[in-house]
């Protein structure tokens, strides 16, 4: 039986898979750094978030909601005061950070690393469970198209952040 018949793979697909194996290690290492930094920055208390006092002051002064609640496109919605000790991600803090080109580069790198690593992993999983060759090829292709669209959206949002200010 030729290798092609065994797995239904073209030689080019085999090469792609070998490159993918290596890429999975490289992007994984990159993610340890970038994702670690990202989680520290956005989910644990630090200067890039508003403290409870800062946030509640912003709420009182109407800085957080610049439009009336009734105008909110999601219908009924009320702002929520920060609990003592809570740190809150705010629009102004994020936009302030993203004004620096270095942070834009860091965030875009994280986005691309996570998307390519995740999609590469997904195609490996599909390879294990989807035996029908053409269906698998279609699913993997659709996955990469979705990943490209998400990358486009993410980059657009990161680049636009803070451009309307200052």
């Amino acid at each position: 039986m030729s290798p092609r018949e065994e797995t239904g793979e073209r030689l080019s697909e085999k090469r792609f898979r070998a490159v993918g194996w290596l890429m999975q290690r490289i992007t994984g290492l990159g993610l340890v750094l970038f994702l670690g930094l990202h989680f520290l920055l956005q989910h644990l208390p630090n200067g890039f978030l508003a403290t409870a006092e800062e946030y509640n002051r912003m709420l009182q002064q109407g800085e957080v909601l610049m439009q009336q609640e009734s105008q909110s496109p999601k219908g009924a919605w009320a702002p929520k005061e920060a609990l003592p000790g809570e740190h809150v991600i705010t629009y102004s803090k994020v936009v302030e950070r993203l004004q620096s080109p270095l942070w834009k580069v860091i965030d875009i790198s994280l986005l691309l690393l996570a998307l390519s690593h995740g999609m590469q992993g997904l195609s490996k999983v599909l390879g294990d469970y989807v035996a029908r060759v053409r269906l698998r090829r279609t699913l993997v292709a659709l996955g990469w198209i979705a990943a490209a669209l998400l990358a486009w959206e993410g980059i657009r949002v990161i680049l636009a952040a803070g451009m309307n200010i200052g």
Partner: protein, 140 residues
């Protein structure tokens, strides 16, 4: 070394659970399953995260997005997210190291190391994340 099963070749939720919890016997299998599970969960979260962050183009929409996540239930989910990242990341490093150096004899010890590092991250990070919601209110 083969795992004794009543119905070989028929995966079930019970097989899955017994495999994950029989990590003493079969650490490699449990590690692989958890790695795959956390990897897929993280992909799902990443997609939701990117779509959600499209709100960053509008201050009010972004405020609504962030506020949704500031509830006790979502704080617990946040700790689970941290746990998935920590396990997948540490275990990924273990896989890469073992592949590179072709050393499998200390595979089990390294897997326990992965579990220990994951537990440490979840406990420290979890306490910090849950503090305002679950711990501070209990303090006098």
């Amino acid at each position: 070394m083969l795992h004794k099963r009543e119905r070989p070749g028929s995966p079930s939720f019970r097989t899955f659970l017994s495999t994950v919890f029989s990590y003493r016997k079969n650490a490699g299998m449990a590690a692989w399953m958890l790695h795959r599970l956390t990897g897929l969960a993280l992909v799902l979260y990443l997609v939701m995260h990117i779509i959600g962050l499209r709100s960053l183009t509008d201050p009010v929409l972004f405020e609504i997005y962030v506020t949704t996540f500031r509830s006790p239930l979502f704080k617990i989910a946040e700790v689970m997210l941290l746990g998935s990242i920590a396990f997948h990341g540490f275990n990924g490093l273990r896989i890469a190291i073992q592949d590179a150096f072709y050393r499998s004899e200390n595979q089990r010890r390294m897997f326990y190391g992965v579990l220990a590092f994951t537990a440490a991250v979840v406990i420290v990070g979890g306490l910090v994340i849950l503090y305002p919601y679950f711990i501070k209110p209990l303090l006098p």
